[in-house]
Amino acid sequence: MGHPSRLDTSAAATTSTDPTEQPVPARERGRTPAGLAFIAPFGMLFALVYIVPILYAAYLSLFQQKLIGGNTFSGLANYRKLVQDAQFWDSVGRVFGFTLIQVPIMLILAVALALALDSRRLHGIRFMRVSIFLPYAVPAVVSTLMWGFLLGVKYGLFGSLDDALGVNLDPFAPNTTLISIGVMVTWAFTGFNMLIFYAVLKAVPHELYEAAALDGASEFQVVRRVKLPALRGSLVIAVIFSIIGTFQMFNEPQILPSMVANSGITTHYTPNLYAYNLAFTGSQQGYAAALALVMAAITIGVAYAVQIRGLRNAFDH
């Protein structure tokens, strides 16, 4: 909800490193009916699939559905209830914690892989690029099933490992399930981020490397002084993408409980899962709508903060 447009502007802003290259602001070109006609198709679709659903959710969030008494207008009662809902904050805390740990690990891995591919010292770069990216093309449902079998202690690879080493590690115990999900998500999205970084590195002008070589810079210095600064803008984008992704986590906690008992996954494990269960099992659509809107606001807030901070640093250099 609401991220595509935000991302588009940030992408445009971050990729133009030189402020003087900015296009002429729109208002100076004046508004013509012809221009409006050109954006009308987009505007209509945008309103239909983006504005209308949000307004409808906002409208729904003002009602309470009761089994006895039906639909009643309740003002902001759903929001007041949400603020005091320990289960909601439990789920929000979980995705925050997850984001703080998983996203840096994944991005560092992705940067390292991109730098390795860009180093021109590896053979079979094309094959590696595709194979590292491939997990991204596997639907989350399928990958969750796959990892479920891989990490399951009863019949999976982990069970055999446990037997061989004589240990008793369970990747799907209440305390470890989140780590396992982190592994699945990292596996799935590292390749995607790597590809973004790799594309940016490919675009670094050759003259910079030649200049660095003439100045006698070592390979390490080239990475530090040339490559990493070039990556900064795309890193901000990747962080924002990842935050949005993890805040919306749903598939993994939705599917795992059917494979593993007592993995600690609750009906309010992530905000999205909670909203889903509220709406479809608890028949509290209004409350679920309020949750979705609050969560969207939190996500936008966090993404925006990252963007502002990331960009400020980018311009500092």
Partner: protein, 432 residues
């Protein structure tokens, strides 16, 4: 709310038109016009009785649709009722879901169709399942009397020659089975709510008392306390496998290799056990649940479902005709042949049903045992109208106990009650 007032006015204007339409629909069957019935069912046997019904009633065409199982269907039905279109003429409900639809008035009271005359032909407890606040909202279509499926070979290996008849014997036998080796257990449990409730049910606990929109929840009555304490003891002494979940791949393996000595489940297990454990063919037998008192014959229920007519259905008369046909009338025999287990006493008592040996169960006459189990189900059990939601959150509360042993079953049930009280009151019920 202006909009609402307008909507109400609009619906007031529409009602006479709908009534007219309803009238014409109601008579359509008899004056030669065709009626098309839509039935939502995830029970595959219902379709078997359609040809016979359509032959008898040429003006009624029946379309059986699988609109999802269990809560997928309930969600779809709720949505259809809310939208006011696409509501089926008959829908399937697990017994615990009947109050959820009946109490807010989403199901038609079947009293005016003369349903009371059928009561004598149904298993008493099953009839109780479709009765909410004294009115009947559905006809039972399949049944899950709790029974014990035991692996005779495994028990014999452990030195147990007779299946446990009481829970005390069950406890002793559990120790003997586990003594066979670390992987051997008398049963598994990873927080099976329906099993625990059937245990409470049999012990005489009645934790839910429903009266209109008032619900009283109490997990501390004598029967509940007894059942919960017993199962707590089984878990505390590690006599149950808490790693294997029913319906998982692990479970199938353990059933095949005989390391799980018994299953206390609904009678419907007969329909899936042969497929899940083909290697154990000839080893399993069926018996009544172990008893709390030697010599008793008290049973409980674990699953089963009914069909009801949504209040918003268009062809209620025709719907009832078909409902009676496939749950009570001539439509039963093709369903029973296809494997349906129906709580209809003339079927259960028939010599055909009672004397048929089952080769998978070592030529045991399984029907006779399950008929007895059905007739011994203790009465008076009630489900709260928000049970569907309640069972969805039960899993949230059990993980810690089943993986670390911290806490207790009684503590989990108390926490569950608190959550239900909060939710129930929010939903407009009076819950304490």
């Amino acid at each position: 709310m202006r909009l609402h007032r307008k909507a109400r006015f609009l619906s007031a204007a529409l009602v006479p038109m709908l009534v007219l339409a309803g009238c014409s629909g109601g008579t359509a069957g008899s004056d030669g016009k065709q009626v098309n019935l839509t039935v939502w069912s995830w029970d595959g046997t219902v379709e078997k009785s359609v040809p016979g019904f359509e032959a008898e009633n040429p003006n009624i065409k029946v379309k059986v649709v699988n609109a999802g199982s269990s809560y997928d269907e309930y969600t779809a039905l709720d949505n259809a009722i809310q939208a006011g279109s696409g509501v089926p003429d008959l829908a399937m409900f697990e017994y615990f879901a009947v109050p959820y639809f009946a109490i807010p008035g989403k199901l038609a009271d079947l009293g005016k169709f003369g349903v009371d005359g059928l009561e004598k032909d149904y298993v008493r407890a099953a009839w109780n399942d479709v009765t909410v606040n004294g009115k009947v909202y559905g006809l039972p279509s399949d049944y899950g009397p709790s029974a014990m499926f035991y692996n005779e070979a495994t028990l014999k290996k452990a030195g147990v020659n007779e299946p446990p008849a009481t829970w005390d014997e069950y406890y002793e036998d559990a120790k003997k089975v586990h003594a066979l080796g670390g992987n051997y257990y008398i049963a598994q449990d990873t927080g099976d709510l329906f099993f625990l409730l059937s245990l409470i049910w049999q012990a005489g606990g009645r934790p839910f008392k429903v009266n209109g929109t008032k619900v009283h929840i109490d997990f501390t009555d004598e029967g509940t306390t007894k059942a919960v304490a017993f199962w707590q003891k089984m878990l505390d002494e590690h006599l149950l496998n808490t790693k294997i979940t029913a319906w998982s791949d692990d479970w199938n393996r353990a059933l095949n290799d005989g390391t799980l000595a018994s299953q206390i489940m609904g009678g419907w297990l007969t329909s899936t056990l042969p497929d899940r454990a083909p290697k154990a063919a000839g080893q399993f037998r069926v018996a009544l649940m172990p008893q709390w008192t030697q010599g008793d014959k008290v049973g409980a229920e674990n699953g089963g479902s009914a069909f009801g007519i949504p209040a918003a259905a268009k062809h209620k008369d025709a719907a009832y005709k078909f409902l009676e046909y496939f749950t009570h009338g001539a439509g039963l025999s093709p369903r029973v042949e296809a494997g349906a287990f129906v709580p209809v006493t003339p079927v259960l008592d028939s010599t055909d049903f009672q004397s048929k040996p089952s080769s998978y169960f070592g030529d045991q006459k399984v029907g006779a045992v399950l008929a007895q189990a059905s007739n011994s189900v203790a009465s008076g059990w009630q489900f709260p109208p928000f049970f569907e939601w309640a069972r969805s959150i039960y899993g949230d509360l059990v993980s810690k106990f089943y993986t670390t042993g911290e806490g207790s079953l009684a503590g989990i049930l108390e926490e569950w009650k608190q959550r239900m009280v909060k939710y129930g009151n929010e939903q407009g019920f009076t819950v304490d």
